[in-house]
């Protein structure tokens, strides 16, 4: 094993033995690195794949489930063409903890390529973020939180893809392992999808490497992300992070769109795949083996940034901004012309270009040549398909301690509770952060960041159909109960999309957990999948793509809270019916659509009180489905002036966030007056549970003239409560007290403005 250790590989002794047995000889250095990358958790999902099978992945809307670089959902038809939404979700957690700017930027860069290579135009990104505590004494965590956002902003803005959804939480359990999850979305005609595999009849076709010149950056990235982070290795870890080049990517995307056009025009089927973990080797092996082929690659043909790179660095290094095409040889000159001459790649970045690096072979072997020597020659199936690692796990212990069932007594006045909740790090305004993201480039944005719970686009020019995108995943729940956290992640993501008037049609996930070799951590992972599967099935929203990020654990053994993070795609036939969350008029009637529960566990209220309560809200799926159907029908009937889903901080926070935009200069202030809670809860829950509980639901604003229509739609729906009205005074009033909306706005809008000035 000395050799493996000295190469800095993560391969385990039993894996090495398996390789030696299969090859019948000692593997070469290049082969060792290749297996190290390909058999890492990051590439192989060896300890997670069999658990992921439990997620529902099929349904009427599924055009392509989780098999390739992205999943595809059917959005709708326009002028006889079917359009699909391409969606991918990934993490760049380890790199962002070590080098936050580059780590986060390359996260966006990588996920965008996953969508691009399906033949899609990239139309949006989203960024669920989990950072460590940013309070005094956490200077590094604060630096990570600030700098990762700068990286996302710099990259996404430059390539011209709007950031339309995201969330952020701060929790000391992320101190040593931040989570930078990224989602990218694209639009494609379903008849023009390009697959991540060598198509039928591809024997002898060219493999064209496109993009940045290969350099030593990102060498060992796949296995690096499949190890726990050790502070002592900080310097060597930095070398495993890739270097972003959004300028080159901007051009690369546009050139690829031009290639799509050429292929379409000439009716040519090709394969296209992003280079991610495992570099040229990983990509070329997967794109060929997925089609049942082998590959023969000449590393000397690779355009490099400097001479003298070792073959293993060229083969598995993870230089950014590269993709591989598989095309018939007579098409090759046209692809090269578009990238190299029309879009002048060699003039955009040093030695960037499109270049032929090898051939697809009928023989299912994976071969690499370097300086006229064969440096790798293995069975391609063995390389890409066989590794599996069934690790033991334990059902997580969920705290079931007997708790006081009596209504919560806080000992605090309402105004102080309100202040603390609104200023809480999980509640306060995210605007200072997302103001740094371009949310409207491409001119297709219907609902930008911050205007509703989900972002929305009209992605097909000339068509009124829209697509919504939301993200969710509450670490306060993850700390308490992994299974419930999975259920709630789906429920919240779905609810957020519904609040905009879009019907949820599919999901993606990124499962961020600790070390799978720790049975307790793997147990949380397994339980979370169970929760995700249950909720996704109940809402008939299949998972079409996803990602697993394990080993989010410091060398000290301190792991992150269970963090199943979900993105939800929604479809709306006509964006005229899109609903935003700002209150539109005084004199409207407010309804609460939902069912409060006596379960404040995991709530912001419990957190600000410094209490512990393990009772998370249950998800009543039947009820939730009926309530979602009501909100969607009401949106469709144009009777919703505004709507907001209830989440962090509960009903009062939702009401404040609906009212705050009316305080902007040149707008008429709109306040909120809520009836005493017992009038609409009928004593089913206490007043704090009604006002601050996070069991879900919506607030909707209805014009007086639409009350009849709304109540007609709501007829048989349980949990529809008229709770109050909107007023002309800038106040939030409940339980006979009126609070100054401007002061509440100040409390809510300042905390993150200090972190993101």
């Amino acid at each position: 094993m000395a050799e493996v250790d000295s190469l800095g590989l993560a391969l385990r002794p039993d894996e090495l033995r398996k390789i030696e047995e299969a090859l019948g000889r000692k593997p070469s250095v290049v082969e060792l690195h290749a297996f190290d990358a390909q058999w890492s958790e990051h590439c192989s999902y060896k300890s997670s794949r069999h658990h992921l099978k439990k997620l529902p992945t099929t349904g009427e809307r599924v055009v392509l489930g989780p098999a390739e670089d992205s999943g595809i959902l059917h959005l709708g038809e326009h002028r006889g063409e079917r359009y699909g939404i391409v969606i991918a979700h990934e993490s760049h957690n380890h790199p962002s903890q070590v080098v936050p700017f580059e780590g986060a930027a390359t996260g966006i860069g990588g996920i965008v390529r996953d969508v691009l290579c399906m033949g899609a135009e990239v139309i949006a990104v989203a960024d669920p973020l989990r950072f460590g505590s940013i309070e005094d004494g956490h200077a590094h965590q604060r630096y990570v939180a600030q700098t990762a956002v700068d990286g996302i902003s710099a990259y996404g803005n430059a390539i011209g893809v709007p950031n339309i959804a995201g969330d952020v939480y701060f929790d000391e359990r992320f101190d040593d392992n931040c989570l930078v999850n990224v989602v990218a979305m694209g639009i494609v005609k379903e008849s023009e999808i390009i697959h991540s595999y060598a198509p039928k009849g591809a024997d002898g076709w060219d493999m064209i490497l496109v993009g940045k010149a290969t350099d030593p950056s990102g060498f060992g990235g796949a296995s690096f992300s499949s190890l726990t982070l050790d502070a002592q290795d900080e310097e060597s870890n930095k070398g495993a992070v890739q270097v972003p080049d959004p300028f080159l990517k901007n051009v690369l995307m546009r050139a690829s769109y031009a290639v799509f056009g050429y292929l379409r025009e000439h009716n040519i089927t090709a394969g296209f795949k992003d280079l991610g973990a495992g570099g040229i080797m990983g990509c070329s092996a997967e794109i060929t083996s997925a089609g049942g082929y082998g590959a023969d690659i000449d590393l000397d043909q690779v355009n490099v940034a400097l001479e003298g790179l070792a073959p293993e660095v060229i083969a598995v290094g993870e230089t950014q901004e590269r993709l591989i095409w598989v095309v018939p040889p007579d098409v090759t000159p046209h692809v090269l012309r578009i990238y190299n001459d029309e879009f002048t790649l060699p003039q955009i970045a040093y030695n960037a270009r499109a270049t032929v690096i090898g051939k697809v072979t009928a023989q299912p072997r994976y071969k690499l040549r370097h300086r006229a020597e064969t440096v790798m020659d293995v069975d391609i199936e063995f390389l890409t398909g066989t590794i599996r690692d069934e690790l033991p796990y334990e059902e997580p212990q969920v705290a079931t301690s007997v708790v006081d069932e009596a209504p919560l007594v806080t000992g605090l006045q309402d105004d102080e509770l309100l202040e603390r909740v609104l200023a809480h790090r999980d509640v306060c305004s995210r605007e200072p952060l997302y103001r740094r993201y371009d949310t409207v480039v491409r001119g297709a944005t219907v609902i930008p960041r911050g205007a509703a719970d989900a972002g929305m686009l009209a992605p097909v020019f000339g068509s009124a159909m829209g697509v919504a995108l939301s993200v969710a995943g509450n670490p306060r729940y993850g700390r308490l109960n992994a299974r419930a956290a999975g259920e709630h992640a789906v429920y919240e993501a779905v609810r957020k999309v519904v609040a905009t008037g879009a019907a949820p049609i599919g999901l993606t996930d990124c499962l961020n957990f600790g070390n799978p070799r720790n049975p307790a951590h793997l147990g949380e992972f397994v339980a979370a999948i169970d929760g995700l599967a249950k909720a996704a099935s109940a809402f008939q929203a299949p998972f079409v793509s996803g990602n697993v990020s394990l080993y989010n654990e410091a060398a000290s053994g301190k792991a992150i809270p269970a963090s199943p993070i979900v993105a939800c795609v929604g479809a709306i036939g006509d964006v005229s019916h899109a609903v935003t969350s700002r209150l539109k008029h005084a004199g409207s009637v407010l309804y609460f659509v939902g069912s409060p529960q006596s379960a404040l566990g995991g709530s912001v209220l419990i957190d600000v009180l410094g209490r512990h309560d393990p009772r998370l809200p249950r998800v009543d799926y039947e009820l939730a489905r009926a309530q979602h159907a009501l909100v969607l029908e009401a949106a469709q009937a144009s009777v919703l002036r505004s709507a907001r889903s209830i989440g962090n901080g509960g009903l009062v926070v939702a009401l404040c966030e609906m009212a705050f935009p009316s305080l902007a200069h040149g707008m008429k202030p709109i306040g909120v007056q809520i009836d005493d809670s017992w009038q609409w809860t009928h004593g089913a829950v206490g007043r704090l549970e009604a006002l601050f509980g996070e069991a879900g639901g919506f607030v909707v604003e209805i014009a007086p003239e639409d009350i009849e229509a709304f109540e007609g739609l709501a007829d048989d729906t349980e949990g529809v409560h008229e709770i109050g009205v909107t007023v002309e005074q800038p106040v939030l009033s409940f339980d006979s007290e009126a609070y100054d909306l401007r002061r509440l706005h100040h409390l809510w809008s300042t905390p993150l403005a200090e972190v993101y000035p």
């Binding site: 430059a158 300028f247 879009f343 002048t344 993201y437 949310t439 480039v441 001119g443 068509s463 000035p757």
Partner: protein
């Protein structure tokens, strides 16, 4: 026959598609011209430089693109009286090329859109801009009403007008400030300015009135679907809001 408008694509441009579409929806005969086709540019009648990060905004936003081969045709055209519009990065390029404000005796930059203040970060924020010149002062704004308000999105890291005092005075006196930042009710004060731009300037125009550089993007609030909350009676796919400005530009081109 309507006049042909070239929408220039530099390496790093990112707003070409929506700019092209809105020009077309406003009646313009617009076409994309990529940097490797610079030779085609002289045959066009007007030029639009869209937003983005041309040449990665190295040195200063617009500084390198101002010397790109594509600018030969733009500069010749501007001097021959063709209409030229730069939006965001396109505006920065026009300033770096010295076409706007054009307060010097020779063509040379005399002002710049530079790092935002008070914090030097990229910001993305919905804004309103108000016409600050006589509409007829420029053929590009001639289709607008006096003091017309246009909705747009500021989305830039370098949008603050900066120049030395003498040039700022010239810019103000010479009526080069085409649009100022305003509130949605038309009132103007410091809180409406997203980036501490000198003179509250959102757009500058040259002395002849045929070259205009605007920092915020009217095309990103250019259709009714971009502002479902205030769409009024417009059909959701209709040009609306920021399209007012683009329509005026196209009218100026086709006149």
């Amino acid at each position: 026959m309507s006049k042909r408008i070239a929408v220039l694509v530099f390496p790093g441009t990112n707003s070409e598609e929506e700019t092209l579409r809105l020009l077309r929806d406003c009646g313009g005969d617009a076409h994309l011209v990529h940097w490797s086709r610079a030779k085609l540019l002289p045959q066009f009648d007007a030029y639009v430089l869209p937003g983005g990060f041309a040449y990665e905004d190295r040195i200063r936003a617009g500084a390198i693109a101002a010397h790109d081969e594509m600018m030969d045709a733009v500069i010749d055209g501007a001097q021959a009286g063709k209409l030229v519009l730069g939006v965001c990065n396109g505006a920065q390029i026009l300033l770096e090329a010295g076409l706007v404000p054009g307060t010097g005796t020779v063509r040379r930059p005399t002002a710049a859109f530079t790092r935002n203040g008070p914090v030097p970060h990229f910001i993305c924020r919905h804004v309103w801009v108000k016409l600050a010149i006589e509409p007829k002062r420029s053929p590009i704004t001639a289709g607008l009403k006096d003091g017309e308000l246009i909705p747009a999105w500021a989305a830039h890291g370098e949008g603050r007008l900066a120049a030395d005092e003498a040039h700022l005075a010239q810019i103000e006196r010479g009526g080069h400030v085409a649009f100022v930042y305003a509130h949605r009710d038309g009132s103007v004060d410091a809180s409406a300015i997203p980036n501490q731009s000198a003179l509250g300037a959102a757009a500058l125009v040259n002395a002849q009135g045929n070259v205009l550089a605007i920092m915020p993007h009217p095309e990103r609030d250019g259709w009714a679907f971009n502002h479902p909350d205030r769409r009024g009676r417009a059909g959701i796919l209709e040009p609306s809001g920021g399209a007012l400005f683009f329509r005026s530009f196209v009218m100026g081109v086709n006149r």
